[in-house]
Symmetry: C2
Subunit: 84 residues, 2 copies
Amino acid sequence: MSFTEIIGILAGACTTLGFVPQVIRVFLLKSAREISLPFTLSFLVGVILWLIYGILVDLVPVIFWNAASAFLGTLLLYAKLKYG
Amino acid sequence: MSFTEIIGILAGACTTLGFVPQVIRVFLLKSAREISLPFTLSFLVGVILWLIYGILVDLVPVIFWNAASAFLGTLLLYAKLKYG
């Protein structure tokens, strides 16, 4: 693994893993009143576009972390629609 | 500008611009009680690492949007430390 890839892995760990407690919290509380629907949708579309960008340029950390973020964003959207 | 770069520009617009209303809100309310300090720090370190990654691989959309996110993250950290 190159130095550049290690930077990318650490970068994604910082920006993506911060969302995990947020998503868990919404499911534990069964409440997503404070979660903004436009923000959630914009975030989900954005990370799917970053995922496509990563695939087009062939960037392993970008593909990996945006796939993880798309999964988290989908869970958050599900929670928002279910618990509102 | 290539198709890939357009995807990257749209991707960053979705993931970064969503934070603008959040940062403005904290400054308007002069209150950042609900903003998590660990999340803010992790986000700021993460986007700075993505910025370094973008410079190392020479990816214009990654450099541009993570520079913008680092600016927003710095403002949010300032607001958190000032208004806590």
